[in-house]
Symmetry: C2
Subunit: 142 residues, 2 copies
């Protein structure tokens, strides 16, 4: 059933891992490795989740951060839960590099330089998905 | 001893609560109620912290989010750990309002409208500090 919430209706990116509570997707934003961890049900704020669910969501966020750091060696990881436009709980995980278009500013401001987004390794999607299975267990089919 | 890290050298805002591991400050950013939760020691990423320390830091973040929601009823809470310029682990907690200068965009982009920042209640700082003591216990003196 179509709703007015994109994260209720769609995966929100290329799915890398999922369980009954949340999913990890790779976005097509122009920052290579930019992933999102999206709570499956329509919840607005972290403090609307029960404590065990908060802990589970952050456990998944940390697994993605670990995998991105190991695979891409970013200068810094940026984590953000904003949701002003899509108030369905989701975390942005953005590997940042000293030569990326916006560094050291947040990705939401004006660019600091022309920059060609670095290419991801050829096997990146499969490798990252494998990292998540190793850390989080097999994904649930739905 | 002065270092090159502002969050090693300074509180980073008006201190509301502190324990041996982290502190909560109210910033002077032009978004009323904009708080930071800052890890006391110089650590770079969430995944550089041991799991119990991550859990403690997020427990404090959730307490601040709860208190800000109860006191200010924002349209949305924004949470972010960026640190590209100051790679010392800290969380931004930003109560957002439909009529604030940047809504619904992140606060780091261009403003969307002229807006006078709403005034905080007169007793806000003491009230928020009291909320944190009620949720987190008495602060440690240093």
């Amino acid at each position: 059933m179509a709703t007015e919430c994109v994260f209720c209706d769609e995966d929100g990116g290329q799915r890398l891992w999922r369980d009954a509570r949340c999913r990890v997707v790779l976005t097509d934003e122009p920052f290579p490795g930019f992933c999102r961890v999206i709570w499956n049900s329509h919840v607005r704020e972290m403090t609307d989740l029960a404590a065990p669910n908060r802990a589970h969501l952050m456990h998944v966020v940390y697994a993605v951060e670990s995998a991105l750091r190991a695979r891409l060696t970013p200068a810094k990881m940026n984590l953000a839960s904003l949701g002003n436009q899509t108030p369905h709980l989701h975390w942005h995980l953005i590997p940042r590099f000293a030569d990326d278009s916006h560094f050291p500013n947040p990705v939401w401001g004006p660019p600091q330089r022309d920059a060609t987004a670095r290419a991801l390794p050829d096997d990146f999607i499969a490798a990252l998905a494998g990292d998540l299975v190793a850390m989080l267990g097999a994904p649930s089919p739905k």
